[in-house]
Amino acid sequence: MPIAFFLQCDAALLVLSVAAVLLRGRPAVAAIVYGGSLALSVLLLGGALGRLIADGSPDGVALPLGLPWVGSHFRLDALSAFFLVVINLGSASASLYGLGHSRHERSQPRVLPFFPAFLAGMNLVLLADDAFTLLASWEFMSLASWALVMARHQQADNARAGYVYIVMASFGTMALLLAFALLAGPLGAYMFATMRESSVTPGVAGLVLALVLIGAGSKAGLVPLHVWLPLAHPAAPSHVSALMSGAMTKVAIYAFVRIVFDLLGEPAWWWSVAVLTLGGVTAVMGVLYALMQHDLKRLLAYHTVENIGIIYIGLGLALAFRAFDMPAAAALALTAGLLHTFNHSVFKSLLFLGAGAVLTATGERDMEHLGGLIHRMPQTAFAFLVGCVAISALPPFNGFVSEWLTFQAILVSPQLPSWGLKMLAPAVGALLALSAALAAACFIKAFGVTFLGRPRTIAVERAHETDRLSIAAMFALAALCLIAGILPGVFIDTLAPVVQTLVGDRMPAQIGIDWLSIVPIAESRSSYNGLLVFLFIAASASLAAVAIHRLASDAVRTAPPWDCGFPDPNPTTQYTATSFAGPIRRVYGAFAFQARERVDMPAPGELRPARLTVEMHDLVWEFVYDPITRLVEFLALKLNRLQFLTIRQYLSIVVGALVLLLLVLASWS
């Protein structure tokens, strides 16, 4: 597929959003918009896949748009193709879900126009080949998603979320702009092609890296720039949340990879230190935040932060290996990072769609009001369960594969000559393992409290299974989770051209290996075969089942729960999300959130109830953002006095300025 095809698809998406405005109020508009976006995303997905597999040489096109004397350049290479696949997979499933969802919610005047625009924006970022085009589409993407976040603007929280989001977004854009300014130089060579040729001094390169970490990191949700993410992602309609978490954060990853691996030239070793540290901290902090949530969608949003951290760990390792010229290892690490990018977009979209189904069915996002949904919405529950297992990095699903690869990459790190990295890599590995374990705990909580147990509110008892199309979208993603988990070799080989272009080497071809197992470095060193593990488990489980049902009894009797002899019919006696996370809060919360528990135990004979209060602090807000806002407010207040001076005072300012300038002039030369 030539690049023109992709651009035409994006143009069609923009047309679609205009049409959504013109046709507003018509009953059919939702179907048109979502159907159109579905078709276009599928087309884009197919085209990108074709490019990725056929490994066509990159081709570009320049349109006389944007910056006059530069024009706006577009280019499609393996990297863009891969990320196009990721994005459009997400958008296709989101559109499908939206198509189904529009039956529940007919008129979405504040969603429909911006949905295709958002898709177009993301696609354009991936195709852009000069700084201006990239930043313009980047900011356009942010704007469209902001509008979607503000779709339910009547709730004050959403408005606040939207505000924080757009301010952080423009902050990030500004950082990226500065980074590009450094790369382009004073003559304004904004084209990526020229940036690739030109080289910058190490100091400048370091500055660029820092700026890119801020710019792309604020969009991706690196701690401490993540604060907008858990506010904004849940505020949007669920399929948009899926897109924002599943796709938009990946666009940010793309920007990072494009600039740091492609444009910036040879890395210095300490870059990887920065990236690895940020990644590790982000992974653990993200999942710890998530554990403290009982809003389902916010929990998922915080898990996005965690997974972004994991991805950055992979990228950081790749940088380290590249800095010391170990292309094979770099290829392994980069493959791990990119594969996790793909995996995360799949299962995070799935999870958000599931949460959306729950939200539509019950009108509840708060897990404390849910429970027992597995009986009311079995299919959603099943799909969501698959997502939970996958994101918890458990075999035989896809999440495990990418984390396993990351571990393998870490196990190569002792060959690095730098002692700092020798020590840092295992530490980061520990953080990665910790975050994986915590994620498992968190999703036991998420699934257990939401879908298992007994219903906690009437709303849940009235809930019913969501529509077919949404189910279809979820199951497609769930199937993908399993396939990517048991046939990872295929995906690794698909990634080969991308990795090849970026670090100059690729992982050994996996398809040829017998039994379709994956071998990152050498057979004797490590190997994993998801397919076989899956078959083994299936086989032995069914074997056990058959054996027992045949040889022993298969009689079943249902009865009230035993519960140590004191069953309590009241559903509020179940473990809640908060109580489930209690022990973990006691272990980790003390240092992560300065969590303090206060037990107020009345004296014997007193009638008031005992009370346990927990207070937690979001340190990032308190130590980074509050001071900044306070400073701005303070200065604004102080300067505001200048609004109330009398004319005479204003005149004296003018005279003062005049005298000052005259003095300067008098003391000149």
Binding site: N640, Q643, T646, R648, V659, L663
Partner: protein, 220 residues
């Protein structure tokens, strides 16, 4: 002829600066107006002298305007305004007299320094003239800033303008001086009318004291 021409022009310009100092020194409104009228007369003389030595008849017009307008019409108008609006008669300084004088000295010194940096290539007459003109301008500004009384601020503005006219007249063969002086007289007239119309009793700052109190709050 050259010598006397130069000296007389110099003398008149210097006199203008002196009168500006006198203006700053006044603390009675009526006397302030009288002094201002005096300054206008001096200005008229110096412009007329310039017209004579530059052989530039149109400058006589400017001189005439200055005389008629600034030395006669405006002071009378202001007298009436003071009487009509019952503005109390003494000028209250924001800054004490002493500091004002010191500031005035400093400003004059500054304008001298600035002007003398101008290389001597420029013809000395213009140069000296300009130095005095700048001083007058600065003193006028100083007056507007240090006096918190509408009329005295108007006077300050007008003496500033006197400085400008002086400079314009001193600039040999400068075109459009008449037009400019006319335009300026219009400006001044506007201000005076404004003072009268809007009943600006005390200060430029407000049209009406109560009004000011009322929307300090809304003024955000």
């Amino acid at each position: 002829m050259k010598g006397i021409a130069f000296d007389l022009a110099h003398l008149l310009a210097g006199a203008l600066v002196l009168v500006s100092f006198m203006l700053l020194y006044q603390n009675r409104l009526y006397s302030l107006l009288n002094v201002f009228a005096l300054q206008a007369v001096v200005l008229t003389l110096s412009v007329a002298w310039q017209a004579y030595i530059q052989r530039a008849p149109h400058l006589y017009i400017t001189a005439a305007i200055a005389l008629a307008f600034k030395a006669i019409v405006i002071p009378i108008a202001l007298h009436r305004i003071i009487a009509r609006l019952g503005i109390h008669r003494e000028v209250e300084n924001v800054v004490g007299l002493g500091p004002t004088m010191i500031a005035a000295m400093a400003l004059v010194a500054l304008s001298m320094v600035v002007m003398l940096r101008v290389n001597a290539g420029a013809d000395p007459l213009a140069r000296e003239d300009l130095a005095f003109a700048l001083s007058v301008v600065m003193l006028g500004l100083l007056m507007m800033v240090t006096r918190s009384n509408a009329v005295s601020q108007v006077v300050g503005f007008m003496s500033l303008e006197n400085g400008l006219i002086l400079a314009a007249a001193g600039a040999k063969g400068m075109p459009l001086v008449v037009e400019i002086s006319v335009a300026f007289s219009v400006l001044v007239a506007f201000i005076v009318i404004g003072v009268f119309l809007f009943r600006i009793r005390e200060r430029f700052d407000t049209v009406d004291i109560e009004a000011l109190d009322r929307f300090q709050g809304a003024r955000q």
